[in-house]
Symmetry: C2
Subunit: 460 residues, 2 copies
């Protein structure tokens, strides 16, 4: 049953009616078979005060899964409405990494309440994960995985899976450790099922392991899932002891989040990590204003360049009319190059050692694009602007504009492709070097080129 | 063993030596234990003519996995170098969906050779998948999944998995069909292992199925993996008959590819689907020039606006100096709004019905941002530009500039947030409506506002 806008509007309406008329059995029946994500979607569309009611109608395993999918505000409200016993019940059903994700978003008093309710072992585990830095692989891992020993037989392993499997985040991949918890190998459930019952884990396990370190950047780890088509990846500490696993659903969330961050940075927005409609107006302002201010002030340069060529502009006033076109084209060319390179860096396709290769490629692209644009523009200037719109354009003025175009495109592509790679090399986020920043630089360059050509060719 | 730049440079060097000295055993030993992706990475760094040699050194299962990871050109060269028997061997080892992906990239004569080598059943399956439209869910699915019948016992099911599991893309999820292949339910390998041997599939299976249709857009299907944390998803035809499954590794590839497409469109680039460094110069030019030409020509409007206010600019020449700042700020504000909204649409956070909510939010954001920018700019104009740089700025001129700023920001945010949603509503790609396009519109609007204020307040 796919989520379908129209169906859901009807469902939400009937839920409202059921709840108003206290027909709780019907309300429960109407949603209990949906996916947790969809139940959460319906709940959040209902009046706020009915969320705890609906939540209590759900069987406890489903309730826990729905809880994970709710937004932070609803989660907080629910936790506050829970009795101690209820909170413990939900906590027991949650996978550890989900519990940690939720705790990270809660205010301190709620965190305290959650931790005081959890049993000692869970509390210890949660605290262990919480201590890893934000954005580290440790912060997205779970400690609920199946570990095997080398001397176990296939039969032993299957028994262990049957015994503890229900509480693990996944049974698709299992890890083999020695008594000191050093990671020795892994096997998939398929490997296990395809083997004879009396074979040992040691015989079957694969010892070529790609693992992540607890302190590795979470994006780096997530990219490995994409590269190697993994479903899970082991996380080890500095002594190569297994401390947890990352599963692909969490890696996928990281990739989506980091990509959104890149896109926002490229558009001069500080990342907010919240869905657009859930972000407050002031929060949105805060994430947008710093770059706008910086870019506004840096536009002082372009202003000063124009001021200093005031006489040239006064002599041939038509030159002013082409400033926007030149600046925009330069900006667009620059951001084409920078955005392509930034995405390449994100996807590990471009590294510092490729800098010269990238520059050489962009130079050739720039020459071709510059010439095509210049020729087309020359034609447009003479035919449309001069003949049709009667602008006072001489061949020399057209030449100034078109030559500027060629050089601006060249400069823009060069700046656009170089800055992100250099930023990465000195440890900055390449995405910050994207369009708006590059546009400002390219604006200044294009104006300087423009006025230089104007002075020379028009003898101003 | 994580991929590590330095290690790999050393490895590539020793591989070159081994190959030159025909030490094939050592060459094989050096790489055979790496992940397929990394073997492919090493192979592509070696001289081109050694690729077939290294490929033949690998055990055939590993060779097939490496083959999938090679770039299209290397794959094509290899296929051409294969004997019929070799090609058949590789084909037999490939998963069906990987084979289809490769075939889709090959020129017609190579495709013909591949299909003529495949056995009748494989050929039929490949042709079936090839007939689905590009970007459809059918085109990314595989037909190699495990299907079960309702009356099977757990024991039967486990036997079936042991018999056919090795050739399936995954055994983590199995699907239950009736004799006419209608999809009835699914179960995970965990469900199976946690059940008693004599329970039937019907008793265990989950019948709340979320499935995709063969003709569903691949991005839509991939987003469902993200939303529901699936590892696989069944694909059905119009009669709800199971025709294949999509696995999360392919869904992840689709998400990355579609996001790159969005990012490229936002930067006025036609998507190319190839890693940057593998794209030819002319191909890059082709993907960038159409939008540049269009945007260059559309800048004619801004040019004409400036021309028609030539007299005003001649009277107060300092006005010209602030055109770049006003245009850039407008452009930046517009693209902040549009990029945020476009990403929200991609992530299913924003829909058409949210249009008014989005507009209302952006209006409030715009007013606050506009006022902050205007106040800061007024201060900057009077203190820096006037006192420090001795520009001829009167309070009225500063007022004109700052009022323009407020209105430009407002217009830019409004245009920026509205266009992507409307584009989506009429079936266009919202990403095309991003910064460059919106910048052009906002440029024109901001100039009109600027000159109107100048004429009114400065009585020009």
């Amino acid at each position: 049953m796919a989520r379908n806008e129209e169906n859901y509007e009807a469902l939400i309406e009937s839920m409202e009616t059921y709840l108003k008329e206290k027909k709780y059995v019907q309300a429960r029946e109407a949603i209990v078979d949906l996916e947790p994500f969809d139940i959460a979607y319906v709940m959040e569309a209902l009046p706020e005060d009915t969320i705890p009611i609906v939540f209590r109608l759900l069987p406890k395993e489903i309730a826990a899964e729905v809880f994970v999918e709710l937004d932070t505000d609803s989660q907080e409200d629910l936790i506050k409405s829970f009795s101690r016993a209820e909170l413990k019940e939900v906590l027991d059903e949650l996978y550890l990494d989900d519990a940690v994700d939720i705790i990270e978003e809660m205010p301190a008093n709620v965190v305290k309440r959650i931790l005081s309710t959890a049993d000692a072992e869970t509390r210890q585990n949660i605290n262990n994960i919480l201590q890893y830095p934000e954005d580290s692989t440790g912060s997205i891992m779970t400690t609920e995985y199946i570990d095997l020993k080398t001397n176990m037989t296939v039969e032993d392993a299957l028994k262990r899976i049957r015994r503890v499997g229900q509480d693990m985040e996944t049974i698709n991949v299992m890890y083999v450790t020695d008594p000191a918890r050093h990671l020795l190998g892994y096997m998939t459930i398929r490997d296990l099922l395809m083997s004879e019952e009396d074979q040992t884990v040691e015989e079957i396990m694969d010892t070529n392991i790609i693992s992540a370190s607890t302190l590795d950047d979470q994006e780096e780890t997530a990219r490995k899932f994409e590269r190697y088509d993994f479903l899970t990846m082991p996380v080890v500490d500095k002594e190569n002891r297994l401390v947890g696993i990352v599963t692909i659903d969490d890696a996928l969330d990281v990739l989506v989040e980091e990509t959104t961050e890149d896109i926002e940075r490229m558009a001069a927005i500080s990342p907010s990590y919240k869905p657009y409609l859930n972000t407050g107006v002031l929060e949105t302002v805060k994430s947008r204003i710093p770059w706008l201010l910086l870019l506004m002030v840096s536009a002082t340069f372009t202003g000063q360049i124009i001021s200093s060529f005031e006489d040239a502009l006064a002599a041939v006033t038509i030159l002013t009319a082409y400033i926007p076109m030149l600046m925009d084209t330069g900006g667009n060319c620059g951001s084409q190059a920078s955005v392509t390179v930034i995405r390449g860096i994100s996807l590990d396709e471009i590294e510092l050692k490729d800098l010269l290769k990238v520059i050489w490629k962009e130079m050739r692209v720039a020459v071709i694009i510059g010439c095509i644009l210049a020729v087309c523009n020359f034609g447009k200037l003479m035919l449309v602007d001069r003949l049709l719109l009667h602008n006072p354009i001489t061949i020399t003025v057209a030449l100034v504009i078109c030559l500027t175009l060629v050089f601006t495109v060249f400069a823009a592509k060069l700046v656009g492709c170089t800055l992100p790679i250099l930023a990465k090399a000195i440890g900055f986020d390449p995405a910050v070097m994207a369009s708006p920043f590059i546009t400002t630089i390219v604006d200044a360059i294009s104006l300087l080129i423009y006025f230089r050509f104007a002075q020379t060719l028009l003898q101003l």
